[in-house]
Subunit: 329 residues, 2 copies
């Protein structure tokens, strides 16, 4: 069994697009976000349609920045948190290229990057879009409570981000390169609190990172940044402890997209989460810094909690997963 793969032809991320909701557009990475919304309905009549439109917008922006025409895109690889990933599907309906739907909760963005890089690196395709989205209101009412209830949130809760990110992965061109990836496996430590995603996902992130170090003989100091998707403040602490127990200190390199995305104040508690979280932060702040070569080699480790309301109602614990991709400027 091997979980780490290498991309010898180094597929290039030639363009990126990002869009954020009102709260995200006031956060600490706001100035890097391409499209900032002051209304999270985005002119639509439902949160779900707004989310899909945001994903569409991010894809369009990515294609524009990649200086490609739409008919040069071979396939869109996309997913989101909605049942039957309808945000991705309805966004893909507006394009004439292929579509591959993927779902690994909030680790979907790194899963899409891994598969997109594989298709391009192997010479099967020339230009592939990798994109994900999430929306606070569509996620909240699907996974938790009706928004109208105004439920109190516990302190370990995160705030699903409203936003989307998309990148164009290409066989040729200039930009940061995807050089490797490690596929995540399903890890379940028996956490049952659907408000404490960070604790459920941290062991999966630690497993993938440790596997990556073991299979590649690399160490934390080989990376400028080790970027988790949405562990939040508490989850990040558990993650760093678990990795430390396995013999690696990542205190210097680790940042979490969920922690980065907001100026943490009372409402968001542990920071942002959602399939759009790592996509938004990567496609804005991280991507721009990579292009400027301020980061040389980073590791994106988006984490996903693979629960559903049905599995929770049936008393199941929360399995989690984390896929990892290596990006070099």
């Amino acid at each position: 069994m091997k979980r780490t793969i290498y991309f010898k032809n180094k597929p290039v991320i030639i363009g990126a697009g990002s869009i954020g909701g009102p709260k995200e557009s006031e956060g600490s990475i706001a100035k890097f976000i391409e499209t900032k919304l002051d209304d999270d309905m985005f002119g639509e009549d439902s949160f779900e349609k707004a989310e899909s439109k945001m994903l569409f917008n991010a894809i369009k922006t990515a294609i524009l920045h990649a200086k490609k025409k739409e008919d040069e895109i071979d396939t869109i690889i996309a997913g989101d948190l909605l049942n039957q990933i309808i945000a991705a599907t309805f966004a893909a309906r507006n394009f004439s290229c292929g579509y591959l739907g993927v779902y690994n909760a909030c680790s979907t963005f790194s899963e899409a990057l891994l598969l997109g890089a594989t298709l391009v690196d192997g010479g099967y395709m020339n230009n592939v879009i990798c994109a994900t989205s999430s929306h606070f209101s569509s996620a909240e009412r699907q996974y938790r409570y009706p928004l109208e209830l105004g439920c109190t949130r516990p302190p370990q809760a995160q705030w699903t981000i409203t936003g989307a990110g998309a990148v164009v992965v290409s066989a040729d061109g200039v930009g940061p390169k995807i050089t490797g990836a490690t596929v995540g496996k399903v890890i379940d430590y028996g956490v049952v609190d659907a408000n404490n995603m960070g604790a459920a996902m941290a062991p999966a992130a630690a497993d993938t990172l440790y596997t990556h170090f073991m299979e590649t003989s690399l160490t934390p100091s080989d990376y400028d940044l080790i970027i988790t998707g949405d562990l939040g403040t508490l989850g990040s602490r558990i993650f760093k402890d678990l990795v430390w127990e396995k013999g690696f200190n990542i205190e210097k390199q680790h940042v979490d997209c969920g922690e980065l995305v907001y100026n943490i104040c009372e409402d968001e508690y542990q920071g942002g989460s959602g399939a759009g979280c790592s996509a938004l932060v990567f496609s804005s702040y991280i991507y721009k810094r990579l292009k400027e070569k301020k980061f040389k080699k980073i590791l994106l480790l988006a984490t996903g909690a693979l629960l559903s309301t049905t599995s929770t109602q049936q008393g199941e614990s929360i399995p989690a997963i984390a896929h990892l991709v290596v990006v070099e400027s």
Copy 2:
């Protein structure tokens, strides 16, 4: 843009596992199904858990027939129809290898085959599992009505099959080979009747097949069989008409897994459907016939209706997709 890809190293399907519910175990392909259940609860306390256990069983059987050990499997690529694909996730939790969740409704099986073949053909992995499942009762109560209501079904309705199929795609070994694939695109002809999936999906199947013929210069007579996933009787007719309009007569080659799986009687109307439909029929009947070289070259074109209850409630039409893989004995 190109949607057809070729696998030069011809990844081999070295093993397959299939499991069917009580109704499927009495249908016309019953004798090819490995594990036949006389109780669709499969010893579990919910339909969802039963579905996940069926998928787990199919994967285990496939590994066994492939004469592989579990730790030789690099990754499981799987999906199903449940919200957040929990049948696949909870099945994957029992294995120590990687997991990539995919979702394109009932075309998920051919999507998984396409991605699995890519990972193996490109030399990124050695052994990949591709698997999907569906369960009549878990699908019915999630997508349509509570089972206790005993709703009357309209004549254009299909019957979601209870079953799962899994294959091991490998870099080496003996068995049928995956030689090519065409990625589907999202097609929406504006069908809004969630009971008439065949009509919604037929245009997507026709588009992918036509694209395949155009990009490869092959014709229907190059194939022994052109196998759609779950168009049903009505959908198959629409599909053949649409392909005929584009200049190809596939009357001789076409079969539909949904039409094959049952001895059509009153209840099932148009035949079977579901993400498990093409997986079950391929992993049992088709796979065995390919191994016996009774079929030389077939084309599996699983079709998916990409709706959700939310999209239907919000007045959206039903987008559809169909991915195609070419398998040669």
